[in-house]
Amino acid sequence: MLADLLNVIRRDLTIAFRHWSELVNPLVFFIIVATLFPLALSPDIAQLRDVGMGVLWVAALLSSILGLDGLFRSDTDDGSMEQLVLSPIPLSITVLGKTIAHWLVSGVPLVAVSPLVAMAFYLPMAAWDTLIIALLLATPTLSMLGAIGAALTVTLKRGGSILGLLILPLTGPVLIFGARATDLAAQGESPAGPLYLLAALAALAVSLGPLASAAALRVGLE
């Protein structure tokens, strides 16, 4: 089972790393989006600091969802999905593996780069570790939700925007808890409450998400 999972992850990472640019892209995208915001705001540092965290979270959300449209679509279009469905590996493991691979490529770099962005937005140093933990807990949930949406829309052409439509409302709680955790930490209070909730959401998403995606994919192929 674990070997199967690792095989699938390895497969998708191979595909993702074909161009080195794939690796740095979500990252650069994230940075650019986060730096574009100040452009559209009046240049006032105090304001930036307040807004910073919100921007960080929405940018994280968008950049992690952006790559998800292709999660199953390219496999479906070229017939690889048929092969994956028929392979001896259970479909939910395949889906889990693919989503983990996606998270490794989009979520992890994002977490890694977040201190930089936090610095650019003058976030208080004290909140940095909370920010990282919160992002680490939140991004898997985002990826799982994105995978469900991608599976649902896989038979539709041009899924991009409808994917956003399906997924964004569901991500609301993740955003709220994430922002609250960093907020509390920035004010010197304990962020434990929202972090626990984020962890609970992540556990739920990782355990049930793949089953839902697998079911949706099967229907899509029929």
């Binding site: 161009h19 080195w20 640019s21 740095v24 650069v28 650019i32 730096t35 100040p38 452009l39 705001l41 009046s42 240049p43 540092i45 930036l48």
Partner: protein
């Protein structure tokens, strides 16, 4: 006349020819650059009087302005070379564009860093979002990086050349925006001072010498980069083999 001129250029643009004469020129560029930069630094750091407002901090100008100016020049050069390569399908022109990109990106980076360091004593902040000069210069850096990323994303060299050429040409609109940003918007950054005669002679001449020195330095770096780029592109050709055998 025209015919001999085009013939001359075609000769020059043929890779083995280019490789030969660039090997002759490169050291001279380096030497001139070294001399000019030494004179410029001496004049700027020792001879020029401290600014009555800024004190010694103003001396950053001797790094900042030349690199800012070269960042723009190298973008224009890159875009022109890319356009020439695209339209007339000249391989050497693409090689010029590709070799200019990392150098231009470095100068842009240098201009950003020196500008930011200068900004702290002058404006009280390293960086100011919403300042058009600063942001458009940052966009220039992203354009260089985008050009390099796009070029690297293609496996077939020729397609990568031609695709990124389109991007380079489109990005040219940013150059006038950088230059005129101080005129069009109320920016923190100061307006044109060299062309407006707003700078005293003792401060000015080292600056001009530095600009010339940086330009030669740029030329030298470009030749070096270009030579290895050309070798790489012509890896299969017979003259390349001969060159590689000659140099152990």
């Amino acid at each position: 006349m025209w015919r001999t001129l085009t013939l001359f250029f075609h000769q020059l643009a043929s890779p083995p020819h280019f490789y030969r004469w660039s090997g002759l020129f490169a050291p001279w560029f380096a030497a001139v650059a070294l001399v000019l930069i030494t004179i410029g630094l001496y004049g700027g750091l020792l001879l020029a009087p401290p600014d009555y407002q800024q004190g010694e901090a103003f001396r950053i100008i001797y790094v900042h302005v030349p690199s800012a100016y070269l960042s723009m020049l190298s973008y224009v050069l890159m875009a022109t070379a890319a356009a020439v390569g695209f339209i007339w399908r000249i391989k050497l022109a693409h090689a010029v564009a590709v070799s200019t990109a990392p150098i231009g990106a470095s100068f842009t980076f240098l201009a950003l860093v020196t500008g930011a360091l200068w900004g702290k004593p002058m404006w009280g902040t390293y960086w100011q979002w919403g300042d058009a000069r600063l942001v458009s210069e940052l966009v220039l850096l992203f354009l260089f990086l985008g050009y390099m990323a796009l070029h690297a994303a293609f496996e077939e060299q020729e397609r990568g050349d031609r695709m990124s050429a389109v991007l380079a040409v489109v990005g040219v609109v940013n150059v006038p925006i950088i230059h005129y940003s101080v005129v069009w918007w109320a920016t923190l950054h100061q307006g044109p001072s060299i062309t407006e005669n707003a700078i005293s002679g003792a401060m000015l001449w080292p600056l001009l010498v530095m600009i010339a020195g940086y330009t030669f330095c740029f030329g030298w770096l470009l030749l070096l980069q270009l030579r290895s780029e050309v070798l790489e592109r012509e890896a299969g050709a017979r003259w390349t083999q001969r060159v590689l055998e000659a140099s152990p």
